[in-house]
Amino acid sequence: MKAFDYAIASNESGALAALERGYRPKASGIDLLDLLKERTAAPDSLVSIADIATLKGIREEDGGIAIGALATLEETGAHAGIRKHFHALAEAAAEAATPQIRARATVGGNICQRPRCWYFRSADFNCLKKGGPTCYAVEGENSFHAVFGNGPCHITHPSNIAPALVAFGAEIVTVAPEDGGRTIRAADFFMLPEDGGIMKENVLKKDELVTEIRLPAAVAGQKSGYVELREKQSFDWPLVSCVAAFNGTKWTIVLGHVAPTPWRAKGSESLLGKAAAITPEIAEKAAAASDRGAKPMSQNAWRLKLVRAAVRRALLLADGKEID
């Protein structure tokens, strides 16, 4: 780990002042410290935002729910309002990682965590994402890499909660020194490599801080289901996940851990149309359409079968049906 200066901010303006001077934000540091230890990141200075009171907690307001950037995965998974109205988000938070990690991991840090690509994480490879000449995954070991997306970087987005945020139309609220900050639709927050997201995975500027995640007011008939499929049942990221959310009029199906961003399964969505009730047959058909547009790599087409299974099950769960 490279030596760095360390500051602790007690409020948002303190944090912003530090960010302006080039400090990088640290929430609980679970991902950040790993990156520092591996020297994948080697910032000169860090500012801890962990003590900023205004970033903590979960509030119900204006019919919606505001999740502070420092709220933990555990709090998010256990929150009664989220469990009731945004069930898939609660499940995604509650099933991530391990109990110890969920007790510390913040939602801000979770959506900003860097990808798990083993070439990116290893100091021995200077790949595209680090400014190098090539993506090693293409000709190398890509069993766990993206099955959707055009490259040229083939990471999968590692956040458990990101697909749910996209599916529920959540907004990410930021503050920044220059323009004061903005409100970004979750769907616009995550960035594909082809849209400029090679060296980073989201639209945040270097001196911009996520302050909260806003969920819209729930509507009548809203329902959702979450499924994640894991090789190991803990201490690992899922192989594939899926959020199926019905907003009273239509379904949104968002896949996780299969593309550089949360990935809309548009094939499945169009097949479902406006069908509110899910029968096993409809779920099966929608699942079969989930791989539309897939671009598996040399070793990872097998994960498309998991995508199918996840879509089928998430739909059934969302509609309160048994998974046979």
Binding site: R121, Y136, G140, E141, E231, Q233, L239
Partner: protein, 693 residues
């Protein structure tokens, strides 16, 4: 005579459980001495090639750096190859120096995967059984298959490390070793002219070794070299990446088998070709396909070969060679049984070499609910349940061991032996055996191991420690008691034969006088009474030295996703006499856990382009976690013929992957013959039949 009942009645916790839980147990990696320096190897990261440039001057100028030594153009054939070292006042300075070195490498395309490189040129299944049928006229069935196993790294929780303190005329070392005596032998030649008697090695607590912590090793040599040069304590502790790369692995295997059986279920024989997939040089632990033992194999023609890859050399790993071999052999047993239309347990019973295992097959089948097992692939629904079984045996390797019993005037007892506790519970074993032998409880007795100045004992390999140590401890205690009896007899002026001792009280048969343990200790002439004990080959208790076991697995396999959940493992083990229930059951549960991890998860993955290991950590190198571990039922199997302590540590991990492999095949109706059994392989196996929902 060993007492069969003691052991099994003793379910006290480990003597050091508190130290381990609160963190007061100090491992080698916990040793920080005043004035200490740190040393670390500089390593080549890729499969083959060399460093072509290094900015050594810049690295030397990093504050706190004492020494930088890098070999340019030194051709390496493994990721993690050692091309030099750095010595500094802190670990941070070492890291900065490595950065400052700005190493540049040249590397060539390496050999990283036996399948990829198509190096296997042995037999493959062809379906042509003419030759074998010609040889075995009674053959009713012939089965033929190719099995494969992956490379598993040792992944000890405590990394390899040494702290050597050279004080000019004496040397003290703290080592994470599974062989205190061997480490001492290695160290004493490497510390200048300090005599061996002035070299002391401590190995008080060790966080696992599994076969990878024998001898001084490279870390110990470097620590000794630097400590000797600077006359300062030097610490060398590997990080997790180095652990995976250069601290041991279980070689992979490819095993071709073709076997015939007659219509009554008797195996007639066949052909076996075993290939070990090793590093750039061969090392310990190549595949041991146990045809010849385990079952009655008939007439087997066996050949062996090796495939070398660009990786570090393998080392012995908990039951070297056995898990690989048993996975294949037990798979074949089920394939033969299926071809004959026979129940796998019944088929094994017909070919069993050991009456003990025959009994265990029955016990285990009852405990696991074998009667619930359905024909292969016949479990209804998407999630299919499967049952599987596999067995193992473990030979004996008689190994000399010495122990010393020291009784102090205050009545306390220390029993010492120069073996080590690598997490196995050896402190507890010594303590409990001595307590029983001396008729005292743990408040007075301490069993001590892990120091080079204790009487020599074997390294922790071949599961020999407890079996060699227990008789030595008993003899030392018996000899000590003789001396105590002599003291009492002299005091009472009676013959020694008149004095009896039991449960802390000496008693004269003729006069009826009694005196408690502590009072006798109080009148000892010397401040410490010392008695020795030694065990060697041929000791009376060595009647039947081998261990046997059978494990049953219950799995649920999701046919839509290929995800396996192991639900239950029933592990029936006979290891003779058990000293302490908790440590014995721990060995079994630990072995099973490691076996599950081997069966489903662990796998070294090298980048085919460069040879770097892409999963050299604990996030991408998958190891079974708490949620992946099922209900494990350890059964300490014992009968009247079971005398003496036998081996338990290694056999416990041998059959698990075979039992799981068979359970998965039973669930699915198709077989995955390659470890680890991942969702990807299961989905591929289900593909041709379209069995997935």
């Amino acid at each position: 005579m060993p007492d069969n009942n003691v052991a099994i009645e003793n379910a006290l916790p480990r003597v050091d459980v508190r130290q381990k839980v609160v963190g007061s147990a100090k491992y080698a990696a916990d040793q920080y001495r005043p004035n200490m320096v740190f040393a670390k190897f500089v390593r080549f990261p890729y499969g083959r090639g060399k460093a072509v440039s290094a900015n050594v001057e810049k690295a030397r100028r990093v504050p706190g750096v004492l020494e930088v030594d890098v070999r340019i153009d030194d051709y390496q054939e493994m990721p993690g190859g050692r091309i030099g070292h750095i010595v500094a006042e802190s670990e941070a300075a070492i890291e900065d120096a490595i950065e400052a070195l700005d190493l540049k490498f040249e590397h060539e395309r390496p050999l990283t995967d036996a399948n990829l490189e198509k190096q296997y040129n042995g037999p493959k299944p062809t379906g042509n059984h003419e030759a074998i049928r010609a040889k075995f006229k009674d053959a009713a069935v012939v089965v033929e298959a190719l099995y494969q196993t992956q490379v598993q790294t040792h992944s000890c929780l405590e990394p390899h490390g040494s702290m050597v303190d050279h004080r000019g005329d004496e040397v003290e070392a703290w080592a994470s070793t599974q062989d205190v005596t061997g480490y001492h032998d290695g160290l004493k030649g490497r510390v200048g002219n300090v005599p061996g008697s002035k070299v002391v090695v401590h190995s008080d607590y060790v966080g696992g070794g599994f076969g990878s912590k024998f001898g001084l090793r490279a870390e110990g040599s470097l620590a000794a070299q630097i400590a000797t040069k600077y006359k300062r304590p030097c610490r060398v502790v590997l990080d997790r990446d180095e652990e995976h790369l250069d601290a041991g692995n279980r070689p992979g295997s490819i095993q071709y088998m073709q076997l015939a059986a007659d219509k009554n279920g008797r195996i007639l024989g066949g052909k076996v070709h075993c290939v070990s997939v090793v590093g750039f040089q061969r090392g310990g632990g190549g595949v041991n396909n146990p045809v010849g033992g385990l079952y009655k194999w008939g007439d087997i023609e066996k050949s062996e070969d090796e495939i070398t890859l660009n990786f570090s050399i393998p080392r012995a790993f908990r039951a070297p060679g056995w898990p690989q071999g048993v996975f294949a052999v037990e798979g074949m047993m089920d394939e033969l049984a299926a071809a004959l239309g026979m129940d796998p347990v019944e088929f094994r019973q017909k070919n069993e070499t050991s009456p003990r295992r025959a009994r265990q097959l029955q016990t285990g089948a009852e405990l696991v609910g074998w009667s619930e097992r359905k024909p292969d692939g016949a479990w209804p629904g998407r999630v299919k349940r499967g049952y599987g079984v596999a067995g193992a045996l473990w030979p004996k390797w008689p190994t000399p061991c010495e122990a010393e019993c020291r009784i102090a005037r205050d009545g306390t007892v220390e029993v010492r032996s120069g073996v080590q506790d690598i997490g196995t519970g050896t402190f507890t074993v010594v303590t409990d055996v001595a307590c029983k032998a001396l008729g005292l409880d743990r408040s007075l007795v301490s069993g001590l191991v892990g120091k080079s100045f204790y009487p020599p004992g074997p390294g922790s390999g071949g599961s020999v420690v407890s079996r060699s140590l227990v008789p030595a401890v008993r003899e030392a205690c018996a000899n000590a008691l003789k001396q105590m009896v002599a003291i009492v007899a002299a005091e009472w002026k009676v013959a020694a034969a008149d004095v009896e001792y039991a449960d802390g009280v000496f008693h004269s048969k003729s006069t009826g006088r009694k005196v408690p343990w502590k009072s006798v200790c109080g009148v000892m002439k010397d401040s410490v009474l010392v008695a020795h004990g030694k065990w060697e080959r041929g000791w009376a208790g060595e009647s039947d030295g081998s261990s046997d076991c059978v494990q049953f697995a219950v799995v649920d396999v999701d046919t839509e996703t290929g995800i396996v959940r192991v639900r239950k493992i029933v592990a029936v083990h006979s290891a003779g006499e058990y000293v302490n229930r908790k440590t014995a059951e721990n060995q079994i549960c630990g072995g099973v856990t490691q076996g599950i991890s081997y069966a489903l998860f662990e796998n070294r993955i090298q980048d085919r382009q460069t040879g770097a290991m892409v999963n050299a950590d604990f996030l991408n190198y998958k190891i079974a976690g708490p949620v992946d571990i099922p209900d494990i039922v350890p059964v300490l199997d014992q009968d009247d013929s079971d005398t003496g302590v036998r081996s338990l540590g290694e056999p416990a991990t041998v059959p698990t992957s075979g039992a799981i492999g068979n359970a998965i095949a039973n669930a699915l109706g198709v077989r995955v013959r390659s470890l680890p059994i991942t969702p990807e392989k299961i989905l591929a196996a289900l593909e041709p039949k379209g069995a997935s929902a």
